[in-house]
Structure formats: structure tokens, C-alpha cells
């Protein structure tokens, strides 16, 4: 192994990272997961921890880009150079960049994650049988709405498991439209567009308006690549068009004609001769996980290794059952030392705190039969130890920290915290107008105002000034509603208010419920319990709590995890 000149390394072990953008090749969730797994390759053998952050400046910024992408080292189109990263330090140092002219996969061909349907977000299974015919790509056959779909098992006819493939007709990503689908036609710069476009951008990413007029509404999103989208060339992201003509000959499939490198390509219009629009056909692609694990090695301070089987060897090689090579382990442990093993539980104080009004421990001195004095610690009062609370009154992300409310107390945790919160605070010390038991809370991301709900009342805090209590009836919530048990704020000045089976969309500015609400929770958020007692937004994901468990849902309303509040959120031992 090799380290950078001067043995560059981070001076702290709690490393933060931020994902600045996504590749259209893969579902954002698959990308997030690949990065998280790549970091865990290194955290497994060192004392390093990696925490994703969203708004602050992290140690490691991750981005996808093509050719000239904002640093002095341009990428080179498809293949060749795949990615690069900078050794630890400030600014661009520590950052990892991935060439978006590559076809990013998990190493074995196109990865198509489905949405909706009945397969709970499973990947497409290619090939699959539908009505006796075999399909190797997503298809619109059998549908009248033009939405591409696939089977998630080998045989749709037998198993009937299916989902929809990424399509701009289904959703967009990033942008400012919260995943809304494209609206065609849409107007941009006075021109009408009937498909995704690269116009108005210099980075080559395809986008669309999510309302009929971008010029007036300014609403947009990026188009996900279809599974038949080409890579690189001069039509990145556009689908192949078959048949196409090339040198006056007709082609019904990808070809390597015209090239001496045997790479398969296709035209993205019906005539290459006329339009000269082309791109490479999807291949096995490169494993984002493996490349990211290598790049993160650089970001932590490792240079290229001379050992051919090591992860830090400079050339890419796909392996299905990846294991970190001893050379990589030795290298990273030279810089940071080994993993200390399971985290020890926090020592419990044997002294009464002198200043706090909320002692978390009590001590009892006893005398044993041998008259040796021993000090034992009695268990914490359940109401004051977050780990012993079975069900919280409310959970909410306020001012960037997760707050857990119970019986007049609250605990708060930042995303960096990997241990349970210790001393609770009194609700009334921070928000004097509130009752001891609140049902829900949320912070409006735009105005930063914090709203609390308890029974049929609500309070609005702007800093330390408070409005309320007022009745939720004023918001337009029916008289039969006993209370609001959860809230999911959005960036567009709206918030979803939940009462178990129903939810309302509230306009925070006008403080009125939008028309068309309430709606049934199970219709729009399928797969989560309708008897949830806490609903909240945390780091961009929706959480529905029931008993000791939570159901975590993505912004595309897919349940991605069922976990324990106690272990997964509070990090209790």
C-alpha cells in the first residue's frame, strides 16, 4: 500500500459526507446505498464513522460530472478514466468525483428499480415472460398509458409481480418539483418541448418542466434514464431508435460497425446519416460500489497500491463477492488504527449532578457483610432515560436535530450522535406555553416557524415568541378529529398533517387546509401502519411509528426499512 506524500489523513474520526447530485443511470436510493456500503468497507476496519449530512459543509463531497466538471482534471468520455478523488483536507480535498459518461451499475448490467406496481420496489428481472413472449428490456406492451414496466420475477404470467420502470412520465429527480413527473408539452424560453431536453444547460443533463410552462412557473426536474438509454456519444440519456440508417444501411439492433474498438452503439434518431445523433448501448457498466470504495480510500489518505488484488490497485476489476484485501486493511490501519470493536456502553455517573435540575442517576451506598463499602447505581427513572421510553408522545426534526418528546421532557440528537441522548430537557424551559404532553411538532423549512399540536390545540413558535393555543378547527380540520399525531413538512410551504387513517395538506402561510383533503393515509402511503402514533420527516425520509417500531419511507413513498426507534434512531445499547 501507499499513502500520500506527507501522510495526509483526517484529524478526526467522525467523517461527514454529502451527495451533491445523482447519476440518471441508477435510482437515487441505489446510489445512496452504494455509497453507504462503500464507506462501511472502511469503517469496518478502522475507528472511522461516516455520517451523511445535507446542508452543512462536509469532509467529503461526492458528485457526478462529465468532461470538464469544475476542477482542473476533466473526464474523458465513456470508459478509460472512471472517477477520481482528492486526499484529505479542506475545500476540494477529500472530495470524490464520478464520470457520468460511464454507465453506472452494480457491475453486472442495467439495474432497473421499479416503482409502484405490486413488487414493493424490487428490481426488474430480465429477461421475463409476458403473455408467452420474452422481454429483455422494460416494455409498454399491455398498457395504453405509455408507461414502461417490467416483471420482477422471471415469469409475469405465473407470478404477476410487476413494477414501473424509471420514466419521466412517472417521476423526476432533484430539481424543485419534489419528484413530480414531466408535463408534456412544456414551454421553455418561449419554445415548446414534447420530451426531456438538454437545452438551457451546459452539463448535459436532461430535464423537463413539471408544469406546462417553465417560463412562468419555474418548476423543473431531471429525467431518469430509461433502461434503453445510450451512454455518452452526443445523445447521453436518449433512447436508441430502431431501425436506424447508417451509411445508407438499416440497423435493427446495436452495432459496432464504423468503429474499430468493437463497442456497440446505436443512433438516437431514425437516421444517423442525416442527424448524426448517437451513443453507446448499455453494457455491463461499472460497479458504483466498487469504484466508490476505491475513491473513498483516496479520500481517506491511501494512494494507489502495487498489489493487483487490492482495492486500491488503480485498475478496475469487477468482483461479485468483494472483500477488503489485507493490503488495504494494513494501509488504512497504518493511518487510523484498527476498529476498537463494539462500542462500550456509556459509563453511568455515580455522582449526583450539581447543577442540573433533572438528575439522571441516583446512587445508593450500601455496606456489605465484609464491611467493604460499595457503590451501586440504581436504574434510571424510566421517564428520564430515553432508552426506557416505550412510546414517545411525539418525534420531530427541529432545527436540524431529532427531538423525542415524552411527559414534559424532551431529548435531542444530531445525525452525528451514535449514542443515546443523556440528560433530557423540560419542554416548558424551551417552549413555555406548551402542555407536558404534545402529540406532534414540525418546523416549516421556509419560515423556520415551529408548530406544536396537543389534542385539538396548536401553538406556533417564531423564536421565543408564541401564538396560541388555537383550535385546529381554524385550520380547516374537522370537529370530529381528536388531534394531529404527526406532520411531514415540505419545501413548498405545505405540510402534511396526519391523524392515523387520514391526512390533510396544510398551506403554512395561509394556515388553511387545501381542497381535496383529508385523504386516506393507506391510499397514498401504502405499506405503513394506519394506526401510527408518530409521523415525522427525518433527513428527507418519512417515518411512521407504531409501538416500538418505525416504517421508513422514501420520498417516492416506498417503504425501505422497518426498524426499532430504540436501536436505530436512539442508538440505545
Amino acid at each position: 500500500y501507499n499513502t500520500f506524500e506527507g501522510e495526509l489523513k483526517w484529524d478526526h474520526n467522525d467523517i461527514t459526507y454529502r451527495v451533491l447530485n445523482y447519476s440518471p443511470d441508477l435510482d437515487p436510493e441505489v446510489i445512496d446505498d452504494a455509497f453507504a456500503r462503500a464507506f462501511s468497507v472502511w469503517s469496518a476496519v478502522t475507528p472511522l464513522t461516516f455520517t451523511r449530512i445535507y446542508n452543512e459543509v462536509p469532509d467529503i463531497d461526492i458528485l457526478f460530472g462529465s468532461d470538464n466538471h469544475g476542477d482542473p482534471y476533466p473526464f474523458d468520455g465513456k470508459d478509460g478514466l472512471l472517477a477520481h478523488a482528492y486526499p484529505p483536507g479542506d475545500g476540494v480535498q477529500g472530495d470524490a468525483h464520478f464520470d457520468d459518461d460511464e454507465f453506472w451499475t452494480l457491475g453486472t448490467g442495467v439495474v432497473v428499480k421499479t416503482s409502484f406496481g405490486n413488487a414493493e420496489g424490487a428490481l426488474c428481472h430480465f429477461p421475463f415472460i409476458f403473455e408467452g413472449q420474452s422481454y429483455s428490456t422494460c416494455t409498454t406492451t399491455g398498457r395504453s398509458d405509455g408507461l414502461p414496466w417490467c416483471s420482477t420475477t422471471a415469469n409475469y404470467d405465473n407470478d404477476r409481480k410487476y413494477g414501473f420502470c424509471p420514466s419521466e412520465l412517472l417521476f423526476t429527480y432533484a430539481g424543485n418539483s419534489d419528484g413530480a413527473p414531466c408535463v408534456f408539452p412544456f414551454v421553455f424560453d418561449g419554445k415548446t418541448f414534447n420530451s426531456c431536453t438538454k437545452e438551457g444547460r451546459s452539463d448535459g443533463y436532461r430535464w423537463c418542466g413539471t408544469t406546462a410552462n417553465y417560463d412562468t412557473d419555474g418548476k423543473y426536474g431531471f429525467c431518469p434514464n430509461r433502461d434503453t438509454a445510450v451512454i455518452g456519444g452526443n445523445s447521453q440519456g436518449d433512447p436508441c431508435v430502431f431501425p436506424f440508417t447508417f451509411l445508407e444501411r438499416t440497423y435493427h439492433a446495436c452495432t459496432s460497425d464504423g468503429r474499430n474498438d468493437r463497442k456497440l452503439w446505436c443512433a438516437t434518431t431514425s437516421s444517423y446519416d442525416q442527424d448524426r445523433k448517437w451513443g453507446f448501448c448499455p453494457d455491463q457498466g461499472y460497479s458504483l460500489f466498487l469504484v466508490a470504495a476505491h475513491e473513498f480510500g483516496h479520500a481517506l489518505g491511501l494512494e494507489h497500491s502495487d498489489v493487483q488484488d487490492a482495492l486500491m490497485y488503480p485498475m478496475y476489476r469487477y468482483v461479485s463477492d468483494f472483500q477488503l484485501h489485507p493490503d488495504d486493511v494494513e494501509g488504512i490501519q497504518y493511518l487510523y488504527g484498527p476498529n476498537p470493536g463494539p462500542h462500550p456502553t456509556a459509563p453511568v455517573s455515580t455522582r449526583k449532578p450539581s447543577s442540573t435540575t433533572l438528575p439522571t442517576t441516583t446512587t445508593k451506598t450500601t455496606t456489605s457483610s465484609t464491611t467493604t463499602p460499595t457503590t451501586t447505581t440504581t436504574p434510571l427513572d424510566p421517564t428520564q432515560d430515553a432508552c426506557k421510553v416505550k412510546v414517545f408522545d411525539a418525534i420531530a426534526e427541529l432545527q436540524g436535530e431529532l427531538h423525542f418528546f415524552k411527559d414534559g421532557l424532551y431529548w435531542k440528537m444530531s445525525a452525528k450522535d451514535k449514542r443515546p441522548p443523556k440528560t433530557p430537557l423540560r419542554i416548558t424551559d424551551t417552549w413555555s406555553a406548551l402542555p407536558p404532553n404534545i402529540d406532534s411538532a414540525f418546523q416549516d423549512p421556509t419560515s423556520k416557524k415551529i408548530f406544536f399540536f396537543a389534542g385539538r390545540k396548536f401553538w406556533q413558535y417564531t423564536g421565543s415568541s408564541v401564538l396560541g393555543p388555537r383550535s385546529i378547527e381554524k385550520l380547516g380540520v374537522g370537529k370530529d378529529v381528536e388531534g394531529i399525531i404527526g406532520a411531514i413538512p415540505r419545501n413548498n410551504g405545505k405540510v402534511l398533517l396526519f391523524n392515523g387513517e387520514k391526512f390533510w395538506r396544510l398551506d403554512v402561510k395561509t394556515q388553511t387546509v387545501d381542497k381535496g383533503y383529508p385523504r386516506h393515509t393507506d391510499e397514498d402511503f401504502s405499506g405503513v401502519p394506519t394506526d401510527s402514533h408518530d409521523v415525522f420527516l427525518y433527513q428527507g425520509k418519512y417515518y411512521f411509528c407504531q409501538d416500538r417500531f418505525f416504517w421508513r419511507m422514501t420520498w417516492r413513498k416506498q417503504v425501505e426499512k422497518v426498524g426499532y426507534v430504540k436501536y436505530d434512531l436512539l442508538h440505545c445499547p
Binding site: 506524500e5 456519444g233 464504423g258
Partner: protein
């Protein structure tokens, strides 16, 4: 029917042009730190030395020549961080 001419065309928008093996190798050796950007003296000797260095570093057979194994390595997908130097 196979086309007679042309066998290979230059595709618009392709960042890498149709470089010769020698040009490709020089670019590779410079980019990854084996060959200084400014060449002086006997460039033939420098190139052989740089190729040997690269072959040694990547675990290839050290010939100092642009043989097939070396050209395959040069064309192989890889990380953009230099192998030598800053």
C-alpha cells in the same frame, strides 16, 4: 453485406479522438505521473524508461515496449488519480 468503406469513422462528440498507440501511451504515461509533461533530451529513452516504470508498478511484464499487454492496460478502465507524484 459488410461495408467496404469506410471501416472506421470519427463519431461526433466523442471526447477521445482516434489516437495512435504511441500517442495514447504518451498521454497515459503523462497523465498518471510516469512521464514528465515537458520532454527534453532523448525522448525515446524517456519513453522506454517510463513504460518500464509503469509496467513494474502495474505488475506487467517489464519490456519497456508498447506490447499488447501494455496497450491492453492502457486502454483498461481505471481511477484517474496519478500513480506517481502529486
Amino acid at each position: 453485406t459488410p461495408h467496404k468503406t469506410p471501416l472506421s469513422i470519427i463519431f461526433p462528440g466523442e471526447i477521445r479522438s482516434n489516437m495512435s498507440d504511441l500517442q495514447l501511451a504518451e498521454k497515459y504515461l503523462q497523465r498518471y505521473g510516469y512521464l514528465a509533461l515537458e520532454q527534453g533530451g532523448d525522448s525515446q529513452v524517456s519513453l522506454r524508461k517510463a513504460l518500464s516504470h509503469m509496467q513494474h508498478k502495474l505488475g506487467l511484464k517489464e519490456t519497456g515496449d508498447l506490447d499488447q499487454e501494455t496497450m491492453d492496460a492502457i486502454r483498461a478502465p481505471r481511477c484517474g488519480v496519478p500513480d506517481i507524484g502529486k
